[in-house]
């Protein structure tokens, strides 16, 4: 009976199945009723919803961004733990969220960015992490723990972090100001791009005017919108990561992008430099998260622990170009991304999910694009 109850609370069993099984086990109608009520109060109300985590399973299904592990990360894990890993990729948080929200199951690990963690926790799709199984937890820098999107790290283990800013060709752009105001400079008109992301574009102008990237104040957003529309004619395009190619070839001289993409481009064109503007920017963190209906929770925990090893973390960061929250991995990295100083940190902000205000921001982004 306990088993059956746990499966119901863990969301792995439909109510109809629960009633059938409970009746078969001889539970009284009253008991069934109160248990169903407990379930209806929301799956996040069930603390032991992860269920008892047993021995390591033989399989693990990972759903990750493309090219977000080092070439040997998965093969080494498979060999050491005797687990067969299926590795599927997605190309954006939104796509992963839409799929999970529509009810898809079968994945044991996903890698959401901060705001996406908030969404998954809020709708009850995130399992709690059993910290006792994560023995390498101490390798993580406190800077990346206990963030607003997952207080106490109940559901996540930090994976990679990065900042947005802009990259420029030092051989084409003399000395760019370290300010988001660079986009207003008509000197580089036609050679600049911003990211194809409403939060990032508005975020850059919100920061320029001294506001928060998570602001939902209509006046502040309106000012940022006006800035974005004023800048738009100077832009060649709204393009995110794929702008790397154009930066290398010289079609674009100045591009808003994330630091890791810049690092990758620098490998082919050393004249590319990265700037985090002095007004501040968005910092983000991707985390490992176990969906509540995962079938191989133990293997998932072991993978989380494995990722926290210094050598594994360093290899991953060397491949992606982004920062590792694993402080012991830093000395092992070939291209270490230094942690932000306290001063820099005061100007960096994590993007949070805006809840119902998401529609407002999307409306503004639509209007910017239609201008």
């Amino acid at each position: 009976m306990e088993e059956v109850t746990r499966e119901l609370l863990g969301g792995r069993m439909s109510r109809r199945d629960f009633v059938a099984r409970a009746l078969a086990l001889g539970a009284s109608v009253a008991t069934i009723g109160s248990l169903l009520a407990a379930c209806a109060r929301g799956r996040s109300a069930a603390p032991a919803s992860s269920g008892a985590i047993g021995p390591i399973e033989k399989e693990l299904a990972i759903y990750n961004w493309s090219d977000y592990v080092a070439p040997d990360t998965i093969p080494n894990f498979e060999k050491e733990f005797g687990v067969e890993v299926t590795y599927d990729v997605y190309e954006s948080n939104e796509e992963m969220l839409a799929k999970l929200l529509a009810g898809a199951s079968g994945y044991d690990l996903v890698f959401p960015t901060g705001y996406a963690v908030q969404v998954l926790v809020a709708v009850g799709l995130a399992a709690t992490v059993d910290r006792s199984l994560i023995t390498n937890w101490g390798n993580l820098a406190p800077l990346f723990l206990n963030l607003s999107f997952d207080p106490g790290n109940a559901h996540t283990v930090p994976y990679q972090w990065g900042v947005s800013g802009y990259a420029y060709r030092s051989d084409k752009v003399a000395s760019p100001p370290d300010s988001w105001g660079v986009f207003f400079d008509r000197t580089y008109a036609g050679k600049m791009t911003q990211m194809d992301d409403g939060r990032e574009v508005l975020g850059s102008f919100l920061k320029y005017r001294g506001h928060s990237v998570n602001s939902v104040d209509p006046a502040q957003l309106a000012a940022a919108k006006a800035d974005a529309i004023a800048v738009k004619p100077s832009l060649q395009a709204y393009i995110s990561a794929p702008v790397k190619g154009q930066l290398i070839s010289g079609d674009v001289w100045l591009a808003q992008m994330w630091n890791g993409d810049c690092t990758q481009a620098q490998a082919e064109q050393p004249a590319i430099q990265f700037v985090v503007p002095r007004e501040g920017a968005a910092i983000w963190q991707d985390s490992l998260l176990i969906p509540i209906n995962a079938k191989h929770k133990r293997a998932a925990h072991e993978f989380m622990n494995y990722i926290l090893r210094p050598d594994v973390g360093a290899a991953i960061s060397d491949t992606t170009g982004y920062g590792s929250p694993n402080v012991r991995a830093l000395p092992l990295m070939k291209r270490p991304v230094p942690y932000p100083t306290a001063d820099e940190l005061s100007r960096l902000e994590f993007q949070t999910d805006l809840g119902r205000a998401t529609a407002l921001v999307d409306q503004i982004w639509t209007e910017i694009k239609s201008a």
């Binding site: 299904a61 529509a102 009810g103 994945y107 990561a241 790397k244 990758q264």
Partner: protein
């Protein structure tokens, strides 16, 4: 054969076909380029082809794409042809509305189809996998096949089968020996369209694919945030080469069969 076709027409066609293939030349060239980004030519290398052997994920995805593409094409050709025959040869209540509704899958945005199909699959507890991908692909291919075969059927003499039957053939023989050969260009055209749509579908596939089932677009589109590694160019080149070789061989075989018939 081509003797009656004016020269300008042939030149125009050659130009259009050449332009269609120009990006392919670029694609193939970059499969031999040493640079990781397909931006500028750096040096010649066969590295990316060697990498293909290591990239199990790409090879598995190719296998998935071929299985799904082949099955979806066969199924949608069968279903679509039957629908076209019904619409062309029979008058029934609601015929015009049915024909209009054929276009519904074509007009609906892929993300709407993908998410709603996933919701339904989850509701009825169908496990996601290559089969669900195939089901979805057939759904959006059938209208294309039906419309193309219908265009072929218009104006075609529907009494040829009757004539064959008065000469002693039964319905089945009449169908296979008369109808299908007459329809063949339409069926082939529809099959080609169905296959290329299935082979390259991303949005719908990403929603109805289960963990572990993979097609080429799923792997390729996932790379767009990093960069499309040239091993993708390599596998595309190999696919093109394989297709050309198969085409040549089938042309030779049908040529030989034709001479034997004579």
């Amino acid at each position: 054969m081509g003797a009656r076709l004016p020269r300008w027409l042939l030149a125009f066609t050659a130009a259009v076909l050449a332009l269609l293939h120009l990006p392919l030349v670029v694609l193939v060239a970059f499969s031999f380029n040493a640079s990781k980004f397909s931006v500028e030519w750096t040096a010649f290398t066969l590295n990316w082809y060697r990498r293909l052997a290591e990239r199990r994920d790409i090879l598995r995805a190719l296998r998935g794409s071929l299985i799904v593409g082949g099955s979806a094409t066969l199924l949608s050709v069968a279903l679509g042809t039957l629908i076209a025959l019904a619409l062309a040869r029979h008058r029934f209540r609601g015929r015009t509305i049915y024909e209009a509704m054929l276009y519904a899958p074509i007009v609906t945005p892929e993300i709407v189809v993908g998410i709603s199909m996933l919701i339904l699959l989850v509701l009825v507890h169908v496990p996601l996998g290559l089969a669900t991908i195939t089901i979805a692909h057939v759904a959006f291919s059938v209208p294309f096949v039906a419309v193309v075969v219908l265009a072929r059927l218009s104006g075609m003499d529907e009494h040829l089968e009757e004539a064959a039957m008065t000469l002693g053939a039964d319905e089945i023989a009449a169908f296979w020996k008369i109808t299908v050969p007459l329809l063949w260009p339409g069926i082939l055209a529809g099959a080609l369209l169905a296959f290329i749509m299935s082979f390259d579908d991303y949005v719908i596939t990403s929603f109805v694919a289960g963990s572990g089932s993979s097609t080429l677009p799923l792997v390729i589109y996932g790379m767009v945030r990093r960069n499309i590694e040239p091993s993708i160019n390599a596998i595309s080149t190999l696919i093109l080469v394989a297709t050309v070789v198969l085409l040549y061989l089938s042309d030779r075989m049908s040529r030989r069969a034709a001479t034997v018939d004579e």
